[in-house]
Symmetry: none
Subunit: 229 residues, 2 copies
DNA sequence: TTCATACTTCGATCCTAGTCGAAGCATTTG
DNA sequence: CAAATGCTTCGACTAGGATCGAAGTATGAA
């Protein structure tokens, strides 16, 4: 009865809502600070600090000190895979979170997922791109890439692809949207698109929140630029 | 901060030691009664009953009433996979149990991992297969596949590959063995191999346990069929 | 019917672990 | 240097939940 690795310890680590929120937030691959994670988890700073040391002691997170910040990331790909598996299981059972408050429709419509757009509009954009074969999806690795047509399209939006391609960060990534349970575009291009939309005045990020306001004009233009047949 | 499926709920379910023991016990694939699981978890009957209803409400277990017994099994293969992933992660971090338990040599030698063989012999089989290039490992995705030679070898064991290939379940998967911390073969083929060994009388599953007995003849034959240079 | 087995429910107890605020430490900025 | 920022530690509080035993329910056997 006492054989095997201690899955209870890891389960308990994931089992606290605050910690689960932190882990979910870190699944983007981005390194986040204690304060950011505290906000993400909806919990005080001291509480967050305590949780993070526990997660680190448990081997789920690793930290990198940089000046007066402490950046946390998932300890490794295995951790991410376990979380993915758990999410899959939870979603599969319809264990979706109970939705809260009137703020939610706004969040549902458009929000920021670290640095790129998520929500209804983001899903629409992704659908439009794939429908017109601007991105190609490799079914095996489930990795996506811009096609030649797609590159031309992006350049027409006056987004310079060269710096993106040179960067360390992958240009195109899919990001599974849990409110929609469908893919949207992440990666360097995803971030660049959001920046471009803001420059054009189509979208505006609400301060200290994840909500993105899309202006009436922006709405109209976005529907035109990203049509769905 | 509130998006995503509720992985905390599932984590909390797995996070209790008693429940984790029960889940681990059920990974054999066998259906177990409340009393058996209570003993397995080292906990009173009423406590076990309470845990089991929680696990069932959480969608991790399903029950089948039969007479005055209530048999519990894992709700589905996804649950088993999540548990395997957790075990792999825990083992990988050296999160082995402090209470060294019965260092049961029988369990170490051969046991069932959900529905395929694990333990010393399973690791040896996997090593033998890779040494002879019967399976190829893609370093990028760390996914494995049968080579042409491997398919021929499997057919010589009189395992019909066609139904396996048609099934939804991947034919070849690696599975990290916690006692050995090395890979062994899982997936549809892993299960088929175990079945075949039982048909040949080489292996016999102990009832209501994860132990697999390998007969002297089976031992001899397996060493012959899966040589290591 | 009567008894035995298998399990559930209830009530009481106990303890872990999450939470916050205040104070302290470390690093960068002015 | 001093002030501000980012984070940790400490102490106190509290709630949730794990546990058990006793009593209750359901099923099968004699």
């Amino acid at each position: 009865m006492k054989e095997g690795p201690d899955i209870a310890k890891i389960g308990a680590l994931i089992g606290d809502p605050a910690r689960a929120n932190m882990l979910t937030a870190l699944m983007s691959g981005k390194a986040l600070t204690v304060s950011e994670l505290a906000q993400e988890a909806g919990v005080g700073l001291s509480t967050a600090s305590s949780h993070l040391t526990k997660l680190q002691d448990g081997g789920l997170l690793s930290q990198a000190k940089q000046g007066r910040h402490r950046y946390f990331t998932l300890a490794g790909p295995e951790v991410g895979e376990v979380l993915e598996a758990l999410m899959g299981l939870a979603a599969h059972q319809g264990h979706l979170r109970t939705r809260t408050g009137p703020k939610d429709p706004a969040l549902r419509a458009a929000r920021v997922c670290y640095d790129h757009l998520a929500g209804d509009m983001a899903v629409r954009i992704f659908d439009s791109l794939s429908q017109r074969d601007f991105v190609s999806l490799d079914a095996e690795t489930s990795q996506i890439a811009l096609t030649r047509d797609g590159e031309a399209f992006v350049e027409r939006l006056r987004i310079d692809l060269h710096p993106l391609k040179k960067g360390r960060r992958p240009v195109c990534l899919t990001c599974l949207d849990w409110s929609e349970r469908r893919n949207h575009l992440a990666g360097a291009l995803g971030a660049a698109l959001l920046t471009r939309f803001q420059d054009l005045g189509w979208a505006r990020r609400e301060k200290a929140s994840r909500i993105v306001h899309i202006s009436p004009v922006g709405q109209q233009e976005l529907l035109k630029v990203f049509p769905i047949v």
